[in-house]
Symmetry: none
């Protein structure tokens, strides 16, 4: 089969709507079916949240959105879909009935992913005519931001189905965890359920409140869990002796009665207690406000991890790279006007300020990179620096004329205004390709130096000639507006 | 009692050394006792890690460091301490014996915090002459970065002791969670242990590997847990109907056998399996490298959360505010010559190039921060920006006159050359305090703007007066060498 172009969403609650958003924002058409008469309003709200968050996360790198439609029946939602994502309530009989219906109505090449958080695919597929076409694709809330999706096949699931689902989830920016053995709750929910049950016991037994239990997580281990799991964390806790030492040291505590197996009985009294404590914890902050705060924190954390090229940050980075069209811009090439193309990039998440504008010092980062492109072109790149000779920037003059926001594409083109065999006089112009205007210029004077002796010296003939060649190629251009300026108060 | 000036650290392993670092970096003197002959080397390594991380987290706000010494005996470490932090191995008999020793040697006003992760304070204090002076202060690794500390008193612990410990932990930037009922594992470790036991079962039963289990956490729920705990997360999952709806919806699954009570038996075979999987997961990346990565991720995540003023970010923000006035240098203060002190920091690891020199664009980062200090001083700080008014840099002129290497201290002092109520003309001078020379200057023209309208406008009278005040204070100084320059080829 070819690339997935349309997804049918069966079940449009919190999970289904967020799936719809993730697919739409990746340029895939989506048809949603749900019995809820308010499904359209609710889905559009979730898509709006997702758009805001994903745009902050990935900026202009995102493709044009897919088309969203609402179907009047299961059959209508899936009849021309390449992929179906089922997100019905967690009732085995309900899912079995509707999955058989989907199976009967979907195209021959289509594949179904089920969002079930704990039901076994072998049971879910048992009522289907083409059971090989069903696989579990279990996501986490908010589905449009959290990367994890557990992919788990049943006894009759084909490898092709697993591959199709995994490829689609990866394409929309997710991290596929292949659950190789069918088990209730798969992997993640078994871990979450362990925490949840222990937490309910702590409330049931009057040891701690909902807010205290949340604090016990978010101010401690939760910070680590956002990028390292339990094993890597404990490996580090084991010090130089590592995991084996840790196991021997803490093995005995495994026998201590620190957790309980099944959760406490959910009596009306316990439900009242938990709900009341949850209300108190939430204070006067409403659901939507918390969701916006949650999404904002998640985006900022993923950007923070991207700066470290680790965990979800590495996933986001690879995903964004996969989105960039292979448009061949060749840095160092000469444009028709003789200027050198020295920069071409979207504004990255770690270059922005709190207003999501390209921040002041990152202009100089981009201009510095542009200078390196010129130096590489004249034969004074990294190898040259390693040989002990180099150009140092001795003077810089930057003018700010506009702005660039997260994800907008900026381009730098460079004039070589002069050279005397020892000095190199550059003038960079930065354009915001997304909005169309010149947003900054940087004028630099560079000096050729012997880095070991820390003294300036004339450049070798080949480099001096290359510099002169660039000056000559641009001689017909009028001097750039804004060069040779000094800073002073007007009048 | 007055403020804690000296802490005795009894037990200088991973936890004890990190406690030492946290106290030292808050200007508190520390004496460490441990039988390990290598305690000095190991402690200094941890303190260096902590200094790097905390300096990245809080910058120049940190106070002058306390003095670190190593004691030859428990008595020597605690005899003149105001507070003692015990971090011995988790053996009740050992802790009881040494705590009695500490009790006998410490001053009458001193208080002991025990780092135990699960032993009960009532038992630990049972051998002490002054049992009212012991409280549990249970931290999380790395102690110099994670905010959480569980404070739990035993039957004989006095309220005053709890208050003293809580105040000290808060003062050094931590989030105190008061555990009101003594229970094995307190609150946090019961939750962590639940995850850990279930994770070991998953390996024991061949369901998943260490790396897969870690991925199941860090790409999903772990991201949420870094700022919201389980209850707030599930409240949001309950949608508009909230926690009560969530409990009713998922209550039945509480009875399903998704987790097991006690951990699996740690047979040699299971230990081998876990250790081997952990080795494979870690690959060729060594312990120190992982620790540095962990700390870098934690600092960036806390900055990310600070941008949202939430969870650990709110704690870091409040902590930094509490440091005002304690900082080793006071940014924004006027020097004898009328210049404003606007920067004072060592060169950080992420600011250097491959030669370990302060890299070009980071000069502008430091100069930009210096501009922010001037703006805060004239009443145009973050609150002002939030109100919709701001100063934008429109022109920058940098001269490079020298270098700074990793770890060298640089200082920025700023001249205010002029203002006309709308424009602000600054001249920053950066000195390398370690080598002694002027290494760069930056001249800036700033324009006062209405950020919403994206138009320049006159500054309010109070700010205009503050600008004029600075210009007047510096009027007697000769114009700085290098101001008003433009870039051009000589001759």
């Amino acid at each position: 089969m070819g690339e997935v172009r349309k997804v049918g969403i069966v079940g449009g609650g919190v999970i289904g709507a967020a799936w719809a958003a993730r697919f739409l924002l990746n340029g895939i058409d989506v048809a949603v079916f749900d019995l809820d008469p308010e499904v359209e309003r609710k889905t559009l709200e979730v898509v709006a949240n997702a758009r805001r968050a994903q745009t902050r996360l990935h900026g202009a790198a995102l493709p044009a959105e897919g088309r969203l439609s609402f179907a009047a029946s299961v059959a209508e939602a899936v009849s021309d879909a390449d992929f179906i994502q089922e997100s019905l309530p967690e009732r085995e009989d309900l899912k079995q009935r509707v999955l058989a219906e989907v199976d009967a109505a979907m195209p021959a090449h289509a594949v179904i992913g089920s969002s079930t958080s704990g039901l076994l695919p072998t049971k879910l597929q048992s009522t289907m005519t083409r059971p090989d076409r069903l696989v579990v694709g279990h996501p986490f809330n908010p589905v449009y931001l959290l990367p994890l999706v557990e992919v788990c096949g049943g006894d009759q699931t084909s490898q092709q189905t697993i591959d199709i689902a995994s490829a689609l989830y990866t394409r929309v920016g997710m991290k596929v965890l292949h659950v190789r053995h069918e088990i209730d709750g798969f992997i993640a929910d078994r871990l979450l359920e362990a925490v949840w049950r222990e937490a309910l016991w702590l409330i049931n037994d009057g040891i701690a409140t909902a807010a205290e239990i949340d604090d016990a997580i978010r101010f401690g281990a939760g910070l680590r869990w956002s990028f390292m799991g339990t094993f890597l964390t404990y490996r580090l806790a084991g010090g130089e002796a590592g995991m084996r030492h840790f196991l021997h040291q803490f093995g005995p505590s495994m026998e201590w009665p620190w957790t309980k197996l099944v959760g406490p009985k959910l009596t009306d009294e316990l439900i009242d207690t938990v709900a009341a404590q949850s209300d108190e914890q939430a204070g006067n902050v409403g659901l939507r406000e918390y969701e916006a705060l949650r999404d904002s924190c998640l985006v900022d954390i993923m950007h923070a991890l991207e700066r470290n090229d680790f965990a979800s940050g590495a996933v986001a980075k690879a995903y964004r790279a996969s989105l960039v069209g292979k448009a061949a811009v060749e840095l160092g090439s000469l444009g028709d006007d003789g200027r050198v193309l020295t920069g071409h990039t979207p504004v990255m998440p770690d270059w922005i300020d709190y207003n999501e504008h390209l921040t002041e010092y990152c202009y100089l980062k981009l201009f510095g990179d542009a200078t390196d492109v010129v130096l590489a072109r004249i034969g004074a790149g990294m190898d040259y620096v390693a040989s002990g000779l180099s150009f140092y920037t001795v003077e810089t003059h930057i003018r700010h004329l506009g702005q660039a926001r997260l994800g907008e594409k900026v381009e730098v083109r460079t004039r070589v205004l002069g050279s005397d065999g020892k000095r190199l006089h550059l003038f960079h112009e930065m354009t915001n390709l997304t909005t169309g205007g010149l947003i900054a210029t940087a004028e630099h004077m560079l000096l050729h130096v012997d880095a070991k002796a820390e003294k300036s010296c004339p450049a070798p003939a080949a480099i001096a000639e290359a510099m002169e060649g660039l000056v000559a190629a641009q001689r017909s251009l009028a001097p750039p507006e804004g060069s040779g300026r000094s800073i002073k108060m007007p009048g």
